[in-house]
Amino acid sequence: MTDSVLEPKTRDNELDRPLLEAALTETWKTPSGFWNTLSTVDHKIIGKRYIFTAFVFLALGGILAGLMRVQLAQPEARLLSADRYNQIFTMHGANMMFLFAVPVMEAVAIYLVPLMVGTRNIAFPRLNAFSYWIYLAGGLLLWIAFALDMGPDVGWFAYVPLSGPQYGAGKRADIWAQMITFTELSALAVSVELVVTIFKQRAPGMSLDRIPLFAWAMLVTSFLVIMAMPAIMVASTSLILDRLVGTHLFNPVEGGDALLWQHLFWFFGHPEVYIIFLPAAGMVSTILPTFTGRPVFGYLALVMALVATGVLSFGLWVHHMFVTGLPRLGASFFTASSTAIAIPAGIQIFCWLATLWDGKPVFKTPLLFVIGFIVTFVIGGLTGVMVASVPLDTQVHDTYFVVAHFHYVLVGGAVFPLLGAIYYWLPKITGRMMSERLGRWVFGLIFTGFNLTFFPMHILGLEGMPRRIYTYQPDLPWHGLNVFVSASSLVLIAGFLLFFFEAIRSARQGLPAGPNPWNAPTLEWATSSPPPSYNFPRLPVVNGLYPLWEQPTELFVAGGLRVDRRELVVTSMAAAEPEAREASPRNSIWPLWAALATTVTLIWSIFSPWAVVWGPIPVAITLIGWFWPKGTPEDES
């Protein structure tokens, strides 16, 4: 039957529904088998791989945190040596920032954004496959090195001169620097895909003021990645050059400068915080309307707040360097800008509160996490305003106060919304519901465990406990609170274990979700759960911000696409008027080969500069294989 419908140039409106679905499946499917699995470019399969891998890294990073808590539970503990402890806190930070927080947000976007904007695949799907392999290689590099006792031990921001050639002997700092190259390469690739998907592949009618807020958040985030991550790539490459071929960029004796490292790192590092936070804000703005039963309050204000946060995030980096002896005027400027970013953050909080206030909240697990987020993030934001002031920052710099602050904004600000998002969207991904009863337990354990673990760290910091110490003497006044913190972390760990158990259990045994279990308004709920390989049998057409609420019984769709080639619609940037029926690339194994060639080159270049000469040759060959036309219908124009 399938063969008979796949006549060349068949259009979707020539087929009735079962034939249409059969034909689209034939064109868009990922067949089973080893090589087909490695060759897929389906954004949903790659998105799931990304999400799964990122959560594995979260669990591994959590184990490291647990080890640190055991070590610090008593003075003069001997469980971990000073050297191992250095590796563990570096691995924990680097892993959580570069292998979990940023990739997991992009992962969720890879899965959801094409569905939310109503298209059939992400833009540049082969680049998407490539980005996943590169991300995986970077993660393996870091963790295999750690297993071989070569894990980086210079802190997650790897300040010179500690990480430079003079003090950072061996290859530990190079492993850190090259892991950066892998993860940034992958993040940059995903950002380009998301920008182009959101700009050019939106459903007809989805003008700029009808883009779902999560997609807006990812658009702003992607631009932050594009503008900020080159800084860390310049920094990490320069560090490797200093270490490998004897350049002097960070060597003050030969005209270099150690503070240059901090400028480059934090020019990336501060936007990085918003690269993690803005997607979470987008998740909150998307979840809230569903569980309050009303449109989000202040859509335009929320979009403007996202953009304003993105712009301001580039003007704050020096507040990480207040104790380096910079000019007073400069410090005052950065205090002002750091305080100013509280304004767009506040606008978002008030819009969310107004949505809750005016709506009829249904307190399902996703909404519980949103409320937990608002509470925790506000506390983290308040200590943020505190450390934006130079005198206070000077006092608490490098203490547990700062550790408490950034866990409140990162875990409270990003992980809570992320867990809410998993409860909200996992039924779309697996087709099965998670348990509401266990969900309340998960939220209760994580929210309570988190606050009991991290709030006392504020006090420890004010009592002078520095971060990154592997132990402390018994006569210091920190023992009691450290025991309390370590014990509380067991509650937090129990919450995460229950969450992992429940995610896996529900995927197998949960109740069937159906297309739209929450009566949600955005387009990802207009298709089945899990969605078919082609996402939508017919591409949706929208005329409002909440299409499924505005058209509850009948969805407007577009007709006229070919079904014998992978075809989607490209629309204009502002008004989303259809411009072309564009082809979307087929599955290909070449992105994997390209990623392998790139991986060999990057790891080799830690050891020899000749890698940069010879390595690009196989990379170029694989790229030619990737792009050379194969005479498929997708190449027609």
Binding site: F124, E254, A558, E579
Partner: protein, 200 residues
């Protein structure tokens, strides 16, 4: 849920040109990434200069000749590059083939001169921070010329193959020429940094 066909897409072209093409936006995004990278390296150059008591540090300024020849070649190359863009817009395969061959030659020429440009810096990358940053500036830009040249070679080969007569390929040629404009445009501030700032 019931569906109602509200828009008919059947008359749309099978591939958009210019800003209706996703590759155009992809190329533009990568230019933004790399442009940010160039801007940051130039910022590092200026930062290091602001710290140094003398600039260049303990060495004479670079020899002007090879860098200036590269600059002239790059500026002249904009003319055939512009013509190639126009021919690609008109989908004139014969002229586009000529244009791609000419642009391949204009990619090779600056690389040959650049072999002499590195010694003309009159400092090694490991002499001091000044040497390091000028080598990085020049090396980064050279990478971009090589990348674009390989891309031009492959695309030229495609235009001579059976895949050449295709709107999609002409779009690729336009994106390639746009990227070459970027390679030339980024060279101007780098040329100013390397050769003229030390002479101020």
């Amino acid at each position: 849920m019931k569906e109602r066909v509200a828009v008919d897409l059947s008359r749309l072209p099978l591939h958009g040109m210019g800003r209706a093409s996703v590759t155009w936006w992809g190329t533009a995004s990568f230019m933004l990434i790399e442009g940010t990278g160039f801007a940051l390296v130039v910022a590092v150059y200026i930062y290091l200069m602001s710290l140094a008591p003398t600039w260049p540090i303990d060495v004479p300024p670079p020899d002007l000749l090879p860098g200036t020849i590269v600059t002239l070649i790059l500026i002249v190359s904009l003319v055939p590059n512009y013509l190639t863009t126009r021919w690609a817009e008109r989908q004139d395969l014969r002229k586009v083939r000529i244009g791609m061959v000419v642009m391949s030659l204009f990619g090779i020429a600056p690389l040959i001169v650049r072999i002499f440009e590195f010694p003309a810096l009159r400092v090694s990358w490991d002499t001091n921070a000044y040497g390091s940053i000028v080598w990085i500036l020049l090396g980064l830009h050279t990478t971009h010329i090589i990348t674009d040249l390989v891309d031009t070679f492959v695309l030229a080969a495609l235009m001579f193959s059976r895949h050449g007569q295709n709107r999609r390929r002409f779009g690729d040629v336009e994106d390639n020429t746009m990227y070459w404009n970027f390679v030339v445009a980024t060279w101007i501030p780098i040329y100013g940094c390397i050769y003229w700032i030390p002479r101020l």
